[in-house]
Every structure is written in structure tokens, then in C-alpha cells.
């Protein structure tokens, strides 16, 4: 173990800055990571966390500022520079080439397969055959492969950018285990997450970025959530009640969407639900219990084989999303970029859904401008990077994904995990928006991968397990333990 | 090359002169213009639609060389690209816009240029079609007699195999006027020899490598007694050597490589005949254009140059005369026309206009 003077930081960045065109991604970020600590990097969407990590891993060149490792300045021009300086990274996006095998990927980056295999074994992840094509490997395993590959370089500082966002609970614990072990060896970890619970659980210190600059470095402990949120969002941070229903009791609206015993391949095995106008119906489930397919089927994206689907009482058998959109049922999918035109401008994206409302061959489009401008104002979309939607931060992209339906009009909204990777401030805005929509008479089906979300904003909660709805819960009594039990299919007594 | 030039001269003189339409009102215009212009100031436009072809290359060079040698041409404007009939029309329109005094075209199509040639004529521009005739009545035509080309070569071949046997018929470009004319002549000759059978008829597209592989196919799969080619000749002979087969009589054009083979391989049993198809028609057309522009001499509307046939049995001396040892295989050996062209061989080879 290294005998370093306690005051000598392992990593110190000083006023690092980066701009993309006129958009300042990072204004002035200073950060110090001591040896043997797990250091959290927190911040709202667009605060510049990923950008900082990319600069530190030599993938992106900074515009200004200095980086010191063990007190000595380092130039990070290439990824190799970072590795030689002892900085290893798991990026927010998968960094494995999909059309190559795992082994070829390792060869590409010059990592020994033996070490990677060793780390996978150590994490008690069953070693996937390294001769598998990366695109055939499920995302959680890929994240762990990314981690093992980073570890194989034996970095002194391990940087993990939202690694837990795509991991199921048991693997999150595995990753925490590795992080603690790394710390025990005297190395350090820089950990980025939007889940404050995780920060409290594993992190020694936390640096908060806001608008591209560091605003605070704190030692997080129980009860600090409020402080952290305020540091991230500034004064007037919203409270976590924005989406709550004002009145009690079940909503009385008519049933607008009804599924009876839907089956689809092996994913859905007789799934039934009723969605009423004016309510937000929460869907909760562990990874891979068929919820994704359920949303795809309800939106007309993929077919179902058995069972029945009714919209406003009339049975439908959609062949494409258009059949459901015509009936007012629209989807906000998990992968927001998948639903948007990433290269196109904000306004074009908002207008795109409008095109379905005009005539087919020769009718011109009208009235698109007011609808678009109205939506931008209502959702408070940040228009700075509006020329291409892909340059918006994640939260703003999410707003666009919802907003385009707002511009076009709908009656039933299917939201699949709309707050994934979204900061708390934006989350609150989205909750509030959904509640307003429901109060205006829309029916909303809402899936959240984070179990703590559904009880906050939903009127009813259904739990899916193994391709069917197994339980319905009242949000008031749905604490995390109850939900977890139900999600594991353990409380089968409830209807 | 004396014989040949004399021969050609004879042919030209044989041409009936009655093609010239005396009442054509446009006829006088060029002369008036010429009178206004100082000598040596003519601009000649050229429209050619096939590039990367040795024959066309030499044709263009002979135009350049004659323009230079005449001392009466200030500029040759080349519209030279791979294109089709409509592209050639556009090119000619461009040349009209340039204010050229005469346009020499190698027409892509017999009839398609009629209207644009009429338009050029209206502006007092002399249009001369070379290589292939056009139907436009205003145009002068300076052509090699392609019907005779097909007929003469065909007859030589059929006689060579004593009027009976299997013949491979390796044509040129499918649909090209020259190919159609040669076909007409070839079939006319064939009529006279009922016992000759065509066992293989292919289009080489006048492409040496296509011709070579087709010839190899024919030699190795068919039992042929003679081969008529539309000018893709030396690659065919090469295939006999390559496949190590016995030679059969071959008819080709006046390509340097073929002439060389006829001379060198005569002792190995190769018999063959050269049917001339000289590219200097371009130079001839240039000379005629200058004559007309300067008002020096009248020319018939059609000048048809009948090809000569030389085989390596009776005309060895003529072949040796034609042969140009320093030049590549594909080079066409006939380079000048006495009575028309005034340039030197060097000027053609340099290929530089005024």
C-alpha cells in the first residue's frame, strides 16, 4: 500500500472547463480525490459530470484548467495517457464494440483476457464466454464487463459514470462490494449517480457540480438528502411531493384502456389491467418481468398473440403504433433518443407528432408554430442547444419526448421509465406535468424502475411478475419492502 | 503507304459529285463569312462521344494536326466526352455558342443530330460528319465506307476457306451505325457463299479485353475455320498463341499490332487480311472544312473513302510499308491521306492543335 502524506491528493483538478460551441458544458470544475476514498460526483442533468469524466479519461480535451495526479500535473491527450496516470473509467455509455466478440474487444484495447476473467470471477459474475458477440450480451453484464476491463488496468482511481443506472439490485451490491474492496486496497473511486441513497450508502465524500462548476464538497450522512439536493439545484429546490394527488380515494373516470389476458411469446403470460381516465396507474416490477413488452404491446409497437385489448370499450388489434395513436394512445419509450429525431432541431421534434393530424396526400400542415411554442413554454424546455436534440441534456430530451405528444394531443399516455438518468429537479417537473395531465382527464400508465417513485405519484400500483399482473397495491401502503416482496412474487395472496 | 493513298484517291474521285445540291441557299454563306475573316482565323469545333479509344484518339489528333499544318485555323475547340445522343446535341449547341466556324462531329446517332445541325447551318456554321454519315441534309459527310468494309473482309475470308466452313463473326458495338453498316456488307458477301456457316456471333463492343476472352471461348469450344473481326484483331491472334491452337484465317483492321502479327507469324501459318479503316478521316474533314471556309474549292456533300484489303499472301510489301515498328499495337497504321491532309506523321503523333 502507498505511503502517501494524507494531505497529498490522489487527483486534483483545478478549474477545468469545456465548451461545445456556445454551450458551456463545464465552466470551472475543481475536485480533489484523496487516496483510499469513495468520492461521489453529483449534479443535475447537464451539470457536466460526464464531460469531466471524459476529460479525466483523456477522451475529450479540456479547454482550460489543470489536472494533477499525486501533485504532479498530467497531460491527458489520449486514453492511454489517463491509463498511465492511473485513471481508469467506466463510461456512462457502453464502451464495447457491439459487432466484435468480447475477446476481440479486449484485444482492441490491449487488455489481458485472463485478468478480466479473473475480475469477473471475483465479482461472482458467471464468466460469459469471451467468444460471444458483445451485441448478444445483456446490458447489465456488459456494464460489469466494462467494470472488469477498467479494473484490469489496476487504476489508482476508478471512475464510474452512472454504472448503477442500468443494473438490477443484486448487481448494484456486487459493484458496491468491488468499490469497497478497491478502497480497502488504498485506491480510490469517483462515483457518479443520480440515486442519493447510493451516495449515503457507500460514499465517503461528495462533490456537487452545478451549471458546470463545483459548488460544494460534503461528507454525506443520513438526513443529508435535502442539503445535497439544494446544493445540486440551488435555492428553491422542489420537495418530493409535487406529483401527489390532492384528493383521496380511487378516481371515477371511465376505463379507457383495458387488457384481458394478453400473451406475447414468452414475455407476457396472460396480463390484464384496466386504466381509467384521470388516473396515474403505476407499474412496478423487477427487470425482465415482461413490463417492457407490455408497454410495447399496448402502444402497438409489437403484436400480441392471445387475449384482448380494448380502447374505450372497443376491441383493437393494432398492427403498428399508428393504430393506437389514432385512438389517442401514445408512448414515451424508455430510450428517449429512440423516439426522437436526434439530429433534428427541438422544434422539428415537437412538430413531428403533429404530422399525423393532417390529411394525407395534399393537405398542408397548419398551426404547428403555436402548438410548438406553447409546449416549449409549458415544459420550460432549455432551448440553448436546440439546433440538435441530441445535444440537449438528458432531462430536456425527456421533456421533448413527452412534449411532442402534448403538442399533438392524446388521451392515454404510456410512460416507460421516463425519469431514468434524470436529476431530481427535472423529475419533479415531470411528476407535476403528469399530474396536471391526469387532472385534465388523461389516463397515464407509468412504469418506474426505481421502486421509490411509484408510491409518490401514482393513484394505484400494479405489480408485474413473470409476464402477468400479480398484485394491486394502494400507494399509501406501498413502502419499499412491500413492493420488493410483491415484485419477487412472494405475496400471491393478494389479487 | 503509297499504294493505299493512291487507292483512296481513286475512290474519292470515283464518287459521284451530284450529291451537291446546287440550289441550297445556305451554300453561299460560308464563303461570305470567310471573306470577312482574315485567313488563319478559323475556329473549328469537334464533338466526339467516345473517349479512351485509340481510333477516336487518332481521329481527333488528325484534326488537330491538319488544323495546325494548314496555318489557317486559330483554335480547335474540343467537346470530347463519353455521352449519348442528347449529350452530343448539347455539346454541339455549346460549340455553336462559342462562335466556331465549322464543327466536325463523329455522330453518336444517324438521325438525332438533324435538328441541331440545321440550327448550326442557320448560323452559317459548316458541319462535317466523320466516320459515320448523318441524315441531316446540310451536313457534309466524310466517311469510310463501312458497308464495303464488311463486304470486302467477308469476301476475302470466305474465299480463303474455299467457300465452305464455320466462321466466327466478332462484331463491334451493338447498335452503332458503323456496326450495322458492316453487318449489311458482311451479310451481302455471305449470301454468295451458301456453304459458309456462322457458328458464333458476338459483340466485342470494340473492347480488346472483351474480344480476347470471347475469342478464347470460341477457339476452345467451337470448331472454326475462320474469324472475321470488326477490328479487334490482334487480341484474337494472341489467343491462338496462348491457347496453343492452330491458326485459322483472320480478318482485321489496319491495327499496328495485327499488321505486325501478319508479318511475323506468316511463317507459323497465320494468314489474315487487313481491311483499312483510317482515322485520318478527321484530317480529311478538316481539310475540306478549311477549303469551304476559305472559299477555295467546292466539295461534294459526301466523301466516301473505300477501304483497302491487304492480306499477307499477296500484299506483304504493302503490309510492311504500313507497319510502324515504334508504335503500340493498338495504333492504326494509316495516318495520312494524300490529296487531303498536309500534316506530317510527327504532327499527328504530337497531337497538338494551334
Amino acid at each position: 500500500m502507498r505511503e502517501a502524506a494524507p494531505q497529498a491528493d490522489l487527483l486534483r483538478t483545478h478549474e477545468v472547463a469545456k465548451r461545445y460551441g456556445s454551450v458551456v458544458a463545464l465552466r470551472s470544475a475543481s475536485l480533489a480525490v484523496a487516496p483510499g476514498e469513495i468520492h461521489a460526483l453529483l449534479g443535475a442533468n447537464g451539470a457536466g459530470k460526464s464531460t469531466l469524466v471524459k476529460i479525466l479519461s483523456g477522451v475529450v480535451g479540456g479547454d482550460a484548467g489543470t489536472v494533477n495526479v499525486h501533485g504532479a500535473p498530467v497531460e491527458l491527450r489520449r486514453p492511454l495517457d489517463a491509463l498511465e496516470a492511473g485513471l481508469g473509467t467506466v463510461f456512462q455509455d457502453p464502451a464495447l464494440v457491439p459487432d466484435l466478440t468480447v475477446e476481440q474487444n479486449l484485444r482492441l484495447t490491449g487488455v489481458s483476457p485472463e485478468r478480466v476473467r479473473g475480475w469477473l470471477a471475483h465479482m461472482e459474475v458467471d464468466v460469459p464466454d469471451l467468444d460471444t458477440l458483445v451485441k448478444r450480451i445483456p446490458l447489465p453484464i456488459l456494464r460489469l464487463l466494462d467494470l472488469a476491463r477498467a479494473l484490469a488496468h489496476e487504476p489508482e482511481l476508478l471512475m464510474l459514470d452512472e454504472i448503477t443506472a442500468a443494473l438490477p439490485g443484486d448487481y448494484v451490491d456486487t459493484v458496491f462490494g468491488v468499490m469497497r474492496e478497491w478502497r480497502a486496497q488504498g485506491h480510490s473511486v469517483l462515483f457518479i449517480t443520480h440515486r442519493l441513497g447510493e451516495v449515503l450508502e457507500v460514499c465517503d465524500r461528495a462533490t456537487v457540480l452545478r451549471d458546470g462548476a463545483d459548488v460544494a464538497t460534503v461528507t454525506p450522512s443520513e438526513g443529508d438528502e435535502r442539503t445535497l439536493v439544494e446544493a445540486m439545484l440551488g435555492e428553491g429546490a422542489p420537495t418530493r411531493t409535487a406529483g401527489h394527488r390532492e384528493r383521496d380515494g380511487a378516481p371515477e373516470g371511465p376505463v379507457v384502456l383495458e387488457a384481458r389476458g394478453l400473451t406475447a411469446r414468452t414475455a407476457l403470460k396472460g396480463c390484464s389491467l384496466e386504466l381509467r381516465a384521470g388516473e396515474i396507474l403505476g407499474v412496478v416490477g423487477l427487470e425482465g418481468q415482461g413490463q417492457e413488452r407490455l408497454f410495447d404491446v399496448l402502444s402497438g409497437d409489437r403484436p400480441f398473440e392471445g387475449g384482448e385489448l380494448r380502447v374505450e370499450g372497443r376491441p383493437v388489434k393494432p398492427r403498428s403504433p399508428y393504430d393506437m395513436i389514432r385512438r389517442g394512445v401514445v408512448l414515451v419509450p424508455a430510450d428517449r433518443l429512440h423516439a426522437l429525431l436526434p439530429q433534428r432541431s427541438l422544434r422539428e421534434n415537437l412538430a413531428s407528432a403533429l404530422y399525423n393530424t393532417v390529411g394525407s396526400w395534399l393537405t398542408p400542415v397548419r398551426g404547428e408554430r403555436p402548438a410548438v411554442e406553447g409546449t416549449i413554454e409549458r415544459l420550460e424546455i432549455d432551448t440553448r442547444a436546440q439546433r440538435q436534440v441530441r445535444r440537449l441534456s438528458g432531462g430536456n430530451q425527456q421533456k421533448v419526448a413527452v412534449g411532442r405528444w402534448l403538442a399533438a394531443g392524446f388521451r392515454t399516455l404510456l410512460c416507460f421509465d421516463p425519469t431514468r438518468g434524470i436529476d431530481i429537479g427535472t423529475k419533479e417537473q415531470i411528476y407535476r406535468l403528469l399530474r396536471e395531465l391526469a387532472d385534465d382527464g388523461a389516463a397515464i400508465l407509468y412504469y418506474a424502475s426505481e421502486f421509490t417513485e411509484a408510491p409518490v405519484i401514482c393513484d394505484r400500483i400494479i405489480v408485474v411478475y413473470d409476464g402477468a399482473v400479480v398484485t394491486e397495491l394502494d400507494p399509501a401502503e406501498a413502502d419499499e419492502a412491500t413492493l420488493l416482496n410483491a415484485a419477487h412474487g412472494l405475496e400471491e395472496n393478494v389479487t | 503507304a503509297e499504294d493505299e493513298e493512291d487507292a483512296v484517291d481513286d475512290e474519292v474521285e470515283d464518287e459521284p459529285v451530284d450529291d451537291v445540291d446546287e440550289d441550297d441557299p445556305d451554300e453561299e454563306e460560308p464563303d461570305e463569312e470567310a471573306a470577312e475573316e482574315a485567313e488563319g482565323d478559323f475556329v473549328i469545333g469537334v464533338s466526339n462521344t467516345l473517349v479512351g479509344n485509340q481510333w477516336r484518339e487518332q481521329m481527333v489528333c488528325s484534326i488537330q494536326a491538319e488544323s495546325l499544318a494548314s496555318g489557317m485555323v486559330s483554335d480547335v475547340v474540343l467537346a470530347n466526352r463519353d455521352t449519348d445522343a442528347s449529350g452530343q446535341i448539347a455539346d454541339i449547341e455549346g460549340l455553336i455558342g462559342q462562335g466556331v466556324d465549322a464543327i466536325i462531329v463523329n455522330p453518336h446517332d444517324r438521325t438525332a443530330l438533324d435538328d441541331v445541325i440545321a440550327a448550326a447551318d442557320e448560323q452559317g456554321i459548316i458541319v462535317i460528319s466523320v466516320d459515320q454519315a448523318v441524315t441531316a441534309e446540310q451536313a457534309y459527310n466524310v466517311t469510310n465506307d463501312q458497308v464495303a468494309y464488311g463486304e470486302l473482309g467477308g469476301r476475302w475470308l470466305f474465299e480463303q476457306i474455299d467457300g465452305e466452313g464455320n466462321v466466327a463473326y466478332m462484331r463491334g458495338g451493338d447498335g452503332a451505325p458503323a456496326d450495322q453498316d458492316r453487318d449489311e456488307g458482311f451479310r451481302a458477301a455471305l449470301e454468295e457463299f451458301p456453304d459458309v456457316e456462322i457458328v458464333s456471333e458476338v459483340f466485342t463492343g470494340w473492347d480488346p479485353s472483351t474480344g480476347a476472352s470471347q475469342a478464347l471461348d470460341i477457339i476452345t469450344t467451337e470448331d472454326v475455320d475462320g474469324i472475321w473481326t470488326s477490328g479487334i484483331d490482334y487480341p484474337v491472334v494472341e489467343q491462338f498463341e496462348a491457347a496453343d491452337e492452330d491458326f485459322v484465317p483472320v480478318v482485321g483492321a489496319d491495327n499496328n499490332g495485327f499488321i505486325e502479327q501478319l508479318i511475323e507469324l506468316a511463317d507459323d501459318g497465320l494468314t489474315g487480311a487487313v481491311v483499312t479503316n483510317p482515322p485520318p478521316v478527321g484530317g480529311v474533314a478538316t481539310a475540306i472544312a478549311i477549303d469551304l471556309l476559305a472559299g477555295r474549292e467546292d466539295h461534294p456533300q459526301d466523301t466516301v473513302l473505300t477501304p483497302e484489303v491487304y492480306d499477307n499472301i499477296d500484299d506483304m510489301a504493302a503490309l510492311e510499308d504500313l507497319y510502324l515498328p515504334d508504335l503500340p499495337q493498338g495504333f492504326v497504321a494509316t495516318m495520312e491521306f494524300e490529296g487531303y491532309t498536309t500534316y506530317t506523321q510527327e504532327q499527328v503523333l504530337e497531337c497538338e492543335g494551334p
Binding site: P321, R344, A353, Y355 | V77, L78, E93, Q98, D109, A118
Partner: protein, 341 residues
């Protein structure tokens, strides 16, 4: 923070000035190509002794086939495809129409022209259908069609020939002989289809659906666009324009020419026009109006290079370098603008 808020607010209060700026920026490329065309024509005018109606008419009518083909390719490319068979379809339409129209009266040739255009649209619609249903990439199917169409052209008209009626020639070229100084007719034949197509592409739902599938297939699908229908429509429209290009060729040359090289040259011209016209290969971006100017530019290059007396063999090189140069200048401007933002 204030600036940010200001900027956010700014977007809703759009002054005419801002709108003009935005319009200029959005259509910058299209405007640029038209200016380039203007510059070329002016340049050409200085190169030759007399520039007048004859030259304008000549440029207008002779660029008709290239322009129609550029429009055809634009539609497919905007919709995210690429049609390698388009030049061959033009040649097929040219061969078929020249053969059918020979020695016919005006009314009959007009009817044949309509028939050929519709036939070409239908034929290419089937190609689009095959692509949409089988999900084989566009390049592959249309590469196959390149051979199929040119083979058919040779079967229809084994060697150059055929003709059309003087009336139809007048309709496209402004003169019954195909040569003359009437430039209104060909300019109308350039402008009218372009305007109609441009309007349809950007204003109607069906037209917009082509942009949508070109931009992002998945997103278009999730927004309720019928991908198959849009694909088929894009190929059908392209086929119709290829048919029109074929007819234009017939009226220009008063004959048909079935050779393969024509199909390839036409294909290359259409691709070059699309690229120069600012239509992004991959789809979703660009305007058919830009491709029209690019088509005319590509045509005008020939007389310009001839007039400049450039060695014909160098002409090819110049043409290629020009394409790359224009794209580089455009790229540079785009890059600087993005940097300045």
C-alpha cells in the same frame, strides 16, 4: 441564469428579423447552390462571344433529364434510401417511349408519355415494396434493379433508334425541332415539377412522412408513420420522375438509346446532384430545390470546360475536384457557423 432565461423566452417572441435569419440559416445550402449556379452562368457568359436566348434555352432544355433525375434521387434519399437503378429506369423509359412514339401523332405520344411515367412509377413502387417488405437494404435491391432495368431497356430497343412527335418535343424543349431560342417552355418544365414536388414534400403529410422515415426509422414508426407506405411512395415518386427524365431525353434527341453506360452516367449525375444539392445521404435533410440547381450546375460544367479549352481528359478530373471542393467549402462554412454559435 438571466441570459439563459432570456434565451429561452426569446424563442417564443420571434421578430420578423429573427425569422428571416432562421429561414436563411435553414435554407442556407439551397440558396448557396442557386447562387453558385448563377455565378456559373455569368462566368459562362463571359467565356463565349455572345450569350443570349439560345444559350439560356440550351441550358434549360438540356439539363431537363439531369434535373428530373436529381429530383427522383432526392425523394428517395430524403426518405433514407438510395436508388442505384434510377438511371437505368430513365434509360428504360427513354427506350420504351422512343420505340412506342415513333411516327405517332401528338395526342398519341402524349398518351404514351403519361403511360410511361405512370408505368415507371408503378415499376419502381414495386421495388420500394420489395425493399419495405423484405427489409433487404435499398442499395442491394436497387443495384439489382440497375441490371434488370438496363437489360429490359436493351430488350425493348436493342439499338439506338425510335422517335417522337414534334408536338411533344415542343412541350419539353420549346421547339418542334428540339433546337431554338424559346426558353420559356423548358424553364416552365423545370420549374413546375420542382415547385409541385417541393410543396408536396414539405407541406403534405405524405411528403413529410418521407422526411420522417429518412430522419429516423424507429422514431417515425413510433410516431405512427406507416414506414412501408412511405417507402413505397418514395420509390413510386422517384420512378415517375425517372420516367419523365426518359421522356425528356426522347424529346431532346428524338430517339432512344438503351446502352448501359447511359444508365451509369445518369446515375452518377443524379448522385452528384443530390450531394451537391445539400441532401444528406442517410436521409431526412435537404430540399429538392437545391438538387435542381446542382443538376443544372453539373450540366453547365460541360460547355464551360469546353469553352475554357481545358484538355478533355482533364475535364473528368476537374469535375471530381469541383464536387469535393464545393463540399469542402460548404463543410467549412457549416463548421465555422457551428463554432460561432
Amino acid at each position: 441564469m438571466t441570459t439563459a432565461t432570456d434565451e429561452r423566452a426569446g424563442s417564443s417572441a420571434t421578430t420578423p428579423g429573427v425569422r428571416l435569419q432562421r429561414w436563411l440559416r435553414r435554407h442556407g445550402w439551397t440558396i448557396g447552390v442557386w447562387l453558385l449556379l448563377l455565378a456559373f452562368i455569368l462566368w459562362y457568359a463571359t467565356l463565349i462571344p455572345a450569350f443570349g436566348e439560345f444559350q439560356i434555352a440550351s441550358i434549360a432544355r438540356n439539363s431537363l433529364p439531369t434535373v428530373y433525375l436529381a429530383l427522383a434521387q432526392s425523394v428517395v434519399v430524403i426518405a433514407g434510401g438510395i436508388d442505384l437503378g434510377i438511371g437505368a429506369l430513365m434509360v428504360l423509359a427513354n427506350s420504351a417511349s422512343a420505340r412506342l412514339m415513333e411516327d405517332q401523332g401528338f395526342a398519341m405520344t402524349l398518351a404514351i408519355a403519361v403511360g410511361v411515367v405512370l408505368g415507371a412509377a408503378l415499376l419502381n413502387a414495386l421495388v420500394g415494396l420489395l425493399i419495405a417488405v423484405s427489409e433487404i437494404p435499398d442499395v442491394v435491391v436497387t443495384l439489382g434493379m440497375l441490371f434488370v432495368y438496363s437489360g429490359l431497356a436493351l430488350l425493348v430497343l436493342p439499338s439506338p433508334g425510335g422517335g417522337t412527335s414534334p408536338g411533344l418535343r415542343f412541350l419539353f424543349t420549346g421547339s418542334e425541332t428540339g433546337v431554338g431560342t424559346n426558353y420559356w417552355m423548358p424553364i416552365l418544365m423545370l420549374a413546375l415539377p420542382t415547385a409541385l414536388l417541393a410543396w408536396w414534400m414539405t407541406r403534405s403529410r405524405r411528403g413529410l412522412s418521407l422526411y420522417a422515415i429518412g430522419s429516423d426509422l424507429g422514431a417515425a414508426y413510433l410516431s405512427g408513420v406507416s414506414i412501408r407506405r412511405a417507402k413505397v411512395v418514395s420509390y413510386a415518386v422517384a420512378g415517375g420522375f425517372a420516367g419523365l427524365a426518359g421522356i425528356a431525353l426522347t424529346t431532346l434527341a428524338n430517339s432512344g438509346d438503351p446502352r448501359f453506360i447511359n444508365a451509369l452516367n445518369a446515375l452518377l449525375a443524379s448522385l452528384a446532384a443530390v450531394v451537391l444539392g445539400g441532401i444528406v445521404l442517410g436521409g431526412g435533410v435537404g430540399s429538392v430545390v437545391g438538387a435542381v440547381a446542382a443538376g443544372i450546375i453539373l450540366f453547365t460544367l460541360n460547355p464551360i470546360l469546353t469553352a475554357m479549352g481545358i484538355d478533355p481528359n482533364t475535364t473528368q478530373v476537374v469535375r471530381g475536384v469541383l464536387i469535393v471542393l464545393v463540399m469542402m467549402v460548404a463543410g467549412l462554412l457549416e463548421w465555422r457557423r457551428r463554432r460561432a454559435e
